[in-house]
């Protein structure tokens, strides 16, 4: 039989196994979160380390760049349904076995594995003022568009490229959702003579409501936290600060302006936005759970 020492070792084993994970997550994820919130109430530069109350937050919300960043967040929220509908529709068509569906799945997914930096660099070439996209537009008689140089256009351009690069991820998630769909429902719709839009609206959307919600939240989170590479390479926040997002603002204040406390305040605001998104997800999922 095992000795008492060995038995104690066995009892402690689960803790030993989770210890590295717990330590890493607490020390390098959760603790910095608290440090950051605390830090956002202290000063930068000469006032380093001293408590300044909500000064950073006041400065933040007065800064036109940060206001612009928040405005862009609102724009992303408005564009969100489009960014979800595109992969959703494509997944539906693939599920319904459009000619070539086998090939499309792997073709569409492929940009999702490329780094935003590579995607951004490629689109810098394509969207240059004298680049191929404008040349193609000119060929069909449309004037050139300054995709990345016009403040009214640039943010839409970057979001468009982001959607191009990431819709494959959402597509795969939708297809996983379709795998759980009851095929008998679709057959019934066909027998009843439902059109394609009717089938989508009355059969597919209600059956996939959880997947749709999941994609909504992950797409939103992706737009808020993984466009840094694109912004960094494609626009650097310009022109005229029109392509700032909170994440880029944090980077600039921390890395370029040497304003870590102000950056922390912006981080805290971003975290609150993420929290609202997360809460929204939970409440949506709860409601969906009750409907089941």
């Amino acid at each position: 039989m095992a000795t008492p020492a060995a038995r104690r070792g066995e009892r402690l084993a689960p803790y030993v196994l989770v210890a590295p994970a717990v330590l890493t997550i607490v020390v390098l994820r959760l603790w910095p979160l608290l440090l950051g919130v605390n830090f956002s109430f202290t000063g930068d530069g000469e006032r380093d380390g001293t408590a300044v109350g909500v000064d950073n937050y006041l400065e933040l919300f007065r800064d036109p760049l940060f206001q612009g960043a928040l405005g862009n967040v609102a724009l992303l929220v408005l564009l969100l349904p489009v960014a979800v509908a595109i992969p959703g529709l494509i997944a539906t068509f693939i599920y319904l076995r459009v000619p070539g569906h086998r090939l499309y799945r792997s073709v569409y997914f492929f940009p999702a594995v490329l780094s935003p930096v590579i995607v951004g660099a490629i689109f810098n070439l394509l969207l240059a003022f004298d680049g191929p996209v404008n040349a193609a537009l000119a060929a069909v008689g449309i004037g050139r568009i300054d995709w990345l140089g016009d403040p009214d256009v640039a943010m839409f351009t970057v979001v468009g490229v982001h959607v191009w690069a990431t819709f494959g991820m959402a597509l795969v998630v939708f297809l996983a959702g379709f795998a759980t769909l009851d095929a008998a429902l679709l057959d019934a719709a066909r027998v009843d003579g439902a059109s394609l839009p009717q089938t989508i609206w009355h059969v597919i959307v209600p059956s996939l409501i959880r997947t749709i919600q999941f994609v909504f939240v992950t797409t939103m989170v992706g737009m808020l936290t993984s466009m840094f590479g694109l912004l960094y390479v494609m626009t650097s926040g310009g022109p005229e600060g029109s392509t700032y997002l909170p994440e880029y603002y944090i980077w600039i204040q921390q890395g370029q302006m040497n304003r870590p406390a102000l950056a922390s305040a912006a981080s805290t605001v971003l975290f609150l936005i993420m929290l609202v998104v997360g809460m929204l997800q939970i409440s949506l999922l709860r409601r969906a759970g009750r409907e089941d």
Partner: protein, 275 residues
């Protein structure tokens, strides 16, 4: 019935156009990479007159892409090995062993999943600087492990939950310690999940630019993706060489994708359905 079939052909056209729009940017870049500067300036669309590797060679050697490549390789390898080790240990314990606090720990991992890097990057950079880890391999590796561990633990736990507890019980009766069960049973059984999660973690680390920019400020420590961003400044008037550098950075990922796309897609799908 016929209406359905017709609709399928109607959408086939935009689907094919979209596939073209997905592939074309990369084909364009590869074509540009093969051109001379003169060829590029004269006509952007035409096929390159010949397949040339000079530009690739220039891009590789002149801005230290080789060095950046090795930096990325080292950092990604260590990060993924550590992620899989720590993640599978925790996943096994959280799914198969009963102990006080396990559900709290799992919830903590889930919570950490919702903390984006941008939110903690300022204090993390400070902590790393205070511990002398800024601008070192271990510092960046630690940052990557911290960033992708919640996801790894979450997926490994979900996967190990599908393994019947009887297997663990039987192995224990045969005289294995808990650690023996982990090493002899759980690690081998977890191979499919380790592969999927490992590829995803490797892609995340390889493709990252923000964490790497923050943790590795000095030029010689750049990872490949940060190196790509510095190419543009260097070759703003030599687009073919710039395109070559971009291509060099994209090729490893494309190769991985060609061989392992099923595992990558499965990993993404698992992350969505197990929630």
């Amino acid at each position: 019935m016929s209406r359905f079939r017709l609709a399928r052909w109607v959408v086939a056209v935009p689907m094919a156009l979209l596939a073209l729009a997905t592939i074309y940017p990369l084909v364009f870049t590869a074509n540009v990479a093969s051109k001379t500067r003169r060829e590029y300036i004269l006509d952007r669309f035409s096929l390159a007159e010949a397949v040339r590797v000079e530009n690739l060679h220039t891009a590789w050697s002149s801005v230290g892409m080789g060095r950046y490549f090795v930096n990325s390789l080292i950092v990604v390898t260590f990060s993924v090995v550590l992620l899989l080790l720590i993640g599978s240990m925790a996943g096994f314990a959280l799914s198969q062993l009963r102990f006080r606090g396990s559900s709290m720990i799992f919830l903590g991992c889930l919570a950490a999943l919702f903390v984006p890097f941008q939110v903690i990057m300022v204090p993390l950079a400070r902590t790393m600087a205070d511990s002398g880890l800024i601008d070192t391999y271990p510092g960046l590796i630690l940052a990557y492990v911290a960033q992708f561990l919640p996801f790894t633990v979450f997926l490994m736990t979900s996967y190990y939950r599908t393994i019947p507890p009887e297997i663990v019980d039987a192995a224990r009766i045969d005289g294995n310690s808990v650690y023996g069960v982990y090493r002899r049973i759980m690690l081998p059984l977890g191979t499919p999940a380790l592969l999927s999660v490992g590829i995803l973690d490797a892609l995340f680390c390889w493709n990252d630019v923000l964490i790497s920019l923050l943790m590795m400020p000095s030029a010689e420590n750049r990872t490949l993706m940060v190196g790509v961003t510095s190419l543009r400044g260097q070759y703003s008037d030599d687009i073919p060489t710039f395109a070559s550098g971009v291509l060099i950075a994209a090729v490893p990922v494309l190769v991985v994708y060609l061989f392992l796309q099923r595992q990558i897609a499965d990993g993404v799908a698992a992350g969505s359905t197990k929630g």
